[in-house]
């Protein structure tokens, strides 16, 4: 992301953590119904929204449900009658919603959800990784992964723009690192007057439950029709890429911040690229500076858009590099490449006819910190292993006793 000094909309500087940034975006989007269940580290989002509703800053209702399953179900109901809705969760909560995630997208409802990502039990851990998010990749939700509180704010606004677009009508997730971001304060800019946000988010008609025009939603479909209805989702998800780029342009025009599906740092002349996602991108950029000072031509990439997967953007960025290192923050147990983003990247590059040397690392599992030194050492390890790296599968970074020669 880059920030232009001037934007069309007057903005004010605030200091917020990513949970609160999400809440401010929801407030500014004039959301009608929020439903959520407390889970660490997401809780701050709903606490802040509860305060905003209590103070009359947001004219919405909070449904204090008895579970995440009901949280998502309640906003499905609210969205089905035309309301703008929001929920937030983490980890086990997201897993508990899993069934309903598929239903929400299958019913083509423009829900928006924030996820403060967190490791999955067992053993139970409240700390960060992306196992929860990666587990829901096939649920047909548009998925953004933010790396700053600013981006969390902007992405939630963008998520409503895209989800509610009549060409799309799919739900969206905005994910960010639990604790590393959800509880870390950063400066960001938000519009002084929320009318400017609402101009970007006009209320648009869609099919809703209305006694004056009764429709049936959620019918049972036999093999004769099911596939066509699911194929509509396939097409909508592909189309979402274009609509996201249009929304990126509107965010740039109005708020002066430039977003791309894959962000890059010093990628242009790099022989070695390191791809990751979420809040550790800042650390990675520092590591890139370190490695460059050591004479290595290294650059950084960050996956901002996870669904739909931006294969062509990745191709353009990776085209001239010799080595691509993917640092994942989740494990796909038993997969040929256990890092989910690495797996997807390899498929995308193969599709685009690109065959760089690839190394897959998994790091930061269960909240273990990933430092500049870790990134530097991963790059050196990848260069040392060369073509052998991928034969290993994924390298589980920093696991005591795990050795890769």
């Amino acid at each position: 992301m880059e920030t232009k000094l001037e934007s069309r909309v007057r903005q004010t500087r605030v200091i917020l953590n990513s949970n609160y940034a999400a809440a401010y975006a929801v407030r500014d989007a004039d959301v009608d119904v929020i439903s959520a269940y407390p889970i660490t580290p997401q809780t701050g989002v709903v606490e802040k929204l509860s305060e905003m509703i209590a103070e009359g800053e947001l004219d919405a209702e909070m449904i204090h449900v008895e579970s995440e399953h009901s949280a998502l179900s309640a906003i499905i109901g609210a969205s089905a009658v035309g309301a703008r809705v929001f929920t937030a969760t983490s980890s086990q909560g997201l897993e508990y919603m899993h069934e309903v995630l598929h239903i929400a997208s299958g019913m083509r409802l423009p829900l928006v959800m924030a996820i403060a990502t967190r490791a999955l039990s067992a053993p139970i851990s409240i700390w960060n990784d992306y196992s929860d998010l990666m587990n829901v990749r096939d649920t047909s939700w548009i998925t953004f992964i933010a790396s700053t509180a600013q981006e969390v704010y902007d992405s939630i606004i963008e998520a409503y723009m895209v989800s509610e677009d009549p060409r799309i009508l799919l739900p969206s997730i905005v994910a960010y690192d639990g604790f590393w971001m959800s509880h870390t304060y950063e400066p960001l800019y938000i519009p002084e007057d929320r009318k400017t946000v609402l101009e970007m988010l006009p209320r648009r008609p869609r099919y809703t439950l209305d006694p004056d025009n009764p429709i049936t939603m959620g019918s049972i479909v036999n093999p004769d029709w099911y596939y066509e209805i699911k194929y509509q989702q396939v097409e909508a998800m592909k189309e979402a890429y274009r609509v996201i780029r249009e929304a990126d342009a509107k965010i740039e025009e109005n708020l002066g911040r430039v977003y791309k599906p894959v962000e890059s740092y010093l990628a242009e002349d790099s022989e070695i690229l390191v791809l990751t996602y979420g809040g550790i991108y800042g650390t990675l950029q520092t590591a890139v500076d370190l490695l460059r000072s050591e004479g290595l031509k290294v650059g950084a990439l960050r996956l901002r858009l996870w669904r739909p997967f931006p294969a062509r953007d990745l191709k353009t960025l990776v085209e001239d590099a010799k080595t691509l290192i993917v640092v994942d923050r989740a494990i796909s147990y038993g997969a040929s490449i256990e890092g989910p983003v690495a797996l997807e990247t390899i498929a995308a590059l193969y599709r685009e006819g690109l065959y760089p040397t690839i190394a897959s690392f998994i790091a930061g599992i269960g909240g273990r910190p990933v430092s500049e030194d870790d990134f530097r050492d991963m790059v050196k390890k990848a260069l040392e292993l060369g073509e052998r790296a991928l034969k290993i599968g994924s390298i589980h970074w920093g696991v005591r006793g795990a050795e890769y020669e």
Partner: protein, 101 residues
């Protein structure tokens, strides 16, 4: 019809279009109302699970000269022949007869 023409999300836009499915062909036994004996008590209409007993504003004059303002008629396009109407009729005015195709 291609995926492009279908409403998204499996939504059905035409309320009550199940009337296009004629369930009358399920029927094995056919309920027949004897209009002479029927006392217009509404009980068959009240209990019918498929709502196929119609109240018609057609007057009926019995052989004994009694005039009814309404007539109950069965919509055989949908009647599944469950027999609840015949069973519940308090004057045994509905008979179940073998369906002949």
């Amino acid at each position: 019809m291609s995926w492009r023409e279908l409403p998204i999300g499996g939504i059905i836009l035409e309320a009550g279009n199940s009337v296009k499915r004629k369930t009358g062909d399920w029927r094995v036994l056919r309920p027949v109302i004897d209009q002479e004996r029927c006392v217009r008590c509404y009980i068959c209409w009240m209990y019918c699970p498929d709502g196929v007993i119609e109240i018609r504003d057609t007057p009926y004059r019995t052989k004994a000269g009694r005039i009814w303002n309404i007539t109950f008629e069965i919509d055989y396009d949908y009647c599944k022949g469950c027999g609840i109407c015949a069973q519940e009729c308090p004057v045994k005015a509905i008979e179940l007869v073998e369906e002949v195709k």
